[in-house]
């Protein structure tokens, strides 16, 4: 009996917890992208590619083309 009561209380609590946000005001999901992360993602790729320049794994003009493309991708 105690197990059944505990289980029913648990179920009630879980549903209240899940449905609670529906009692609030309607809000749209923010559509903004995190600008810091965009820059960070491009910077990380750029940093790794610049290391490759030192190791002669990429030509300077190729690096510029790739970085330009990454920049363009990050704002599209």
């Amino acid at each position: 009996m105690a197990a059944v009561v505990f289980s029913l209380l648990l179920a009630l609590g879980a549903f209240l917890f899940a449905l609670w946000p529906l009692f609030g005001e309607r809000e749209p999901i923010p559509d903004q992208r995190p600008p810091g992360l965009l820059k960070e993602a491009v910077a990380r790729s750029a940093r790794e590619l610049e290391t490759d320049l030192k190791l002669e794994k990429i030509r300077e003009e190729d690096l510029e083309v790739i970085l330009r493309h990454l920049e363009k991708e990050s704002v599209s």
């Binding site: 197990a3 648990l10 179920a11 999901i29 993602a41 030509r59």
Partner: protein, 689 residues
């Protein structure tokens, strides 16, 4: 405990149903309230499935044999660790464990991404909740671990008087699973299987939300890397378990369930490499969604193969009752889910194909991008071969009613050339230049690796030619095997030399920029942890190739009858049977769980004493008619001397001793260590240390 667990699963199912509807509503309407409710549903499911797991563990620890699952997979005298690991020892328990892990990972993923990737969460949550819903439907309606046990008269054991109930004893966990590595191996595999659901959900979430940007990739990549690593280590642990527990001297037999775990690992490998190209160059988007969809589906397919009992395997532990209608069989449910996810994934890919076009073309076939493409093609081909090998017996049986099983004779000739090509591409991709490529980079950096590969090849050929008549006749009998071996040795040295050269180049660059020796040695791992962690993984793969090639080609097998006091030669080793010992075999196994018989062996190599070994046979209460093997191994880097107590007679003081001389098996475990360390380096960058 059963009541709490059953109610918890019912409530989790209801929450999953609501969460799926709410997340789909949030995706279509953009209502934040619905998204929050869906996310909270995931957290609720985590709590409830966690309670269900704790309930089952409590029942196992308390020997609550009123539950069928506990009765089937535990017994009073079972050691604590195997009572706990019985959670994944049977079908319904392992599905509960799968589902709980997925709920925990989903909770973690949505929590970690609630700020940065909030706009991707509606569809991501929808996919995760849909997967949770499927597993909860199976757990609630098909195979619940909390099902009560009934006796032969249809009376539930929970209605027994306490005195009668106290007399009931469980079956116990399969003796083969009562092994420490088997307690770790399945959870590692599950971490991998389940973990791939997260990058799958994020990538298809990004696709559904028309997100072309790359800021969400880091999260997806880390989850994929973690899952790939866990799956890979899980597979290796499984190989180690087979090596020490099954007593046949091997570690991999192309068993269908082994293959089922290998398949998502192969496509996951392709995905991880291809994904790098999307991050850096914005290319191979289609390949990435294809590979992550394939990996996720293959994870589910692997779970289906193991649980449905559709294939004959030492691992498969699900057997469907034939009286159940076909549409409610576990296999049908899994196939329906797989088909639904496949249709959903393909539809989304087709509807978003404009987002998957990179707008860039491959500038040079010899560029890094080109080599990554070859890797994709080769790994995809490897996955297709294994998938055909695993799946064709199912269709063959449906068409003819006869059994078919593919073993090494099917896989080795098809997989080996592809695997060697992967090894070559793995080496070349490390030095290949970006974008327009150019052959000068190869000319400049291939001299040392080519010399290393050629020297290793010449030395190996010379060693084969100098070998005795036995080696020459073996060479004549298996020329292709030796050709593969030589190719593997040459390529392994070639790739290892490339990796060494790459590391030295980076250290030199650090020295030129003024860093002192200790920091310069660590510099590559601090500057670009993903790449150099990846190189460590590649070094581990080279070790794995060498271990497989040598142990597969040169394994020698012996079997001899011996009396106590006898000394017998097994290849280069001489073994003296010092004594034969045993526990009380007349003891009531229900009280002691196990009884052992062992042989004490003194092992000599030439005249030199090298080791004391004690191979054993263990009689478990769960199945005393089939004693398991506990092998004893004298393990060194270049060679294992592996002994197994194949038979014994306590009356006559004799044993039948099986022995294997296995060259370089330790390289597999060493390779696994490199893979683990390299993977962790790539996952947890040193910059943060």
């Amino acid at each position: 405990m059963g009541t709490v667990g059953t109610y918890a699963l019912f409530t989790a199912l209801a929450l999953a149903l609501w969460g799926t509807v709410a997340s789909l509503g949030a995706y279509r309407s953009g209502d934040l309230r619905l998204l929050r409710s869906a996310v909270r549903s995931i957290h609720g499911i985590t709590l409830l499935t966690g309670i269900a797991v704790l309930s089952l563990w409590a029942a196992l620890l308390r020997n609550d044999f009123t539950l069928k699952y506990v009765w089937e997979y535990s017994r009073t005298t079972q050691p604590l660790i195997y009572k706990l690991s019985a959670l994944w020892g049977g079908m319904s328990g392992s599905l509960l464990f799968w589902c709980t892990l997925l709920a925990v990972f989903s909770s973690l993923a949505v929590t970690l991404n609630r700020r940065n990737n909030l706009r991707l969460l509606p569809f991501t949550s929808f996919l995760l909740l849909l997967t949770l819903l499927f597993f909860l439907v199976v757990l609630v309606f098909k195979t619940s671990p909390f099902e009560p046990l009934f006796d032969g008269n249809g009376v539930a054991l929970k209605d027994y008087p306490p005195d009668a109930l106290a007399q009931v004893e469980g079956n116990g966990l399969n003796p083969l699973l009562q092994n420490l590595y088997m307690a770790i191996h399945p959870p590692m595999l599950y971490l991998g299987y389940v973990g791939f659901a997260i990058p799958f959900a994020f990538i298809f979430g990004a696709l559904a939300h028309r997100e072309r940007n790359t800021f969400w990739m880091r999260s997806a990549r880390n989850w994929a890397m973690f899952s790939w690593l866990a799956l890979g280590i899980g597979i290796l642990l499984g190989g180690f378990w087979a090596y020490i527990e099954l007593g046949w001297g091997g570690y991999w037999a192309w068993d269908p369930v082994e293959n089922a775990s290998f398949l998502p690992w192969v496509t996951g490998t392709a995905f991880l490499h291809s994904f790098l190209m999307q991050e850096k160059r914005g290319i191979y988007r289609f390949w990435n969604v294809f590979f992550i969809l394939a990996t996720f589906l293959l994870c589910i397919y692997g779970t289906f193969l193991t649980r449905s009992g559709i294939l004959q395997s030492v691992h498969a532990f699900g057997q469907e009752d034939p009286s159940i209608p076909w549409y409610f069989q576990l296999g049908t449910l899994f196939i329906a889910f797989l088909a639904a996810m496949l249709v959903l994934g393909v539809t989304l890919i087709l509807r978003r194909k404009d987002l998957l076009a990179s707008g860039q073309r491959l500038e040079s076939a010899a560029s890094r991008e080109g080599l990554f493409l070859y890797a994709n093609l080769l790994l995809g081909l490897m996955a297709l071969i294994v998938l055909f090998g695993v799946t064709s017996p199912i269709f063959y049986r449906m068409a003819t009613g006869k059994e078919l099983s593919h073993g090494p004779e099917f896989y080795n000739p098809r997989i080996l050339p592809v695997a060697l090509a992967v090894l070559l591409v793995m080496g070349l991709a490390s030095i290949a230049p970006w974008r327009r490529g150019g052959w000068e980079a190869y000319r400049k950096h291939l001299l040392f690796p080519s010399l290393a590969g050629a020297s290793a090849l010449l030395a190996s050929v010379a060693a084969l030619l100098r070998g005795g008549p036995a080696l020459r006749s073996d060479l004549a009998a298996r020329p292709l095997t030796y050709a593969y071996l030589l190719a593997c040795i040459a390529l392994s040295f070639f790739v290892a030399a490339i990796l060494l050269e790459e590391y030295v180049r980076s250290v030199r660059a650090a020295r030129r920029s003024g860093q002192g020796p200790p920091w310069a040695l660590l510099h590559p791992f601090r500057e670009n942890p993903r790449r150099y962690g990846g190189y460590l993984v590649h070094l581990g793969v080279v070790c794995l190739f060498l271990g497989v090639a040598f142990s597969g080609t040169f394994q020698r097998e012996y079997q001899e009858s011996m009396k106590v006091g006898d000394a017998v030669r097994f290849g280069p080793y001489t073994v003296r049977l010092a004594s034969l010992g045993h526990d009380d075999l007349n003891a009531d196994l229900r009280k002691v769980n196990e009884a052992r018989v062992w042989a004490d062996l003194q092992v000599f190599k030439g005249d030199r004493f090298v080791s004391l070994l004690r191979p054993q046979r263990v009689f478990y209460a769960a199945n005393p008619q089939q004693p398991t093997y506990e092998v004893a191994i004298h393990s060194r880097l270049m060679e294992d001397f592996y002994t197994v107590l194949a038979g014994f007679s306590l009356e006559e003081n004799t044993v039948v001793l099986g022995a294997y001389v296995n060259p370089m098996v330790a390289w597999l475990w060493l390779g696994g260590l490199f893979v683990l360390v390299g993977g962790l380096t790539a996952l947890v960058p040193m910059r943060r240390w």
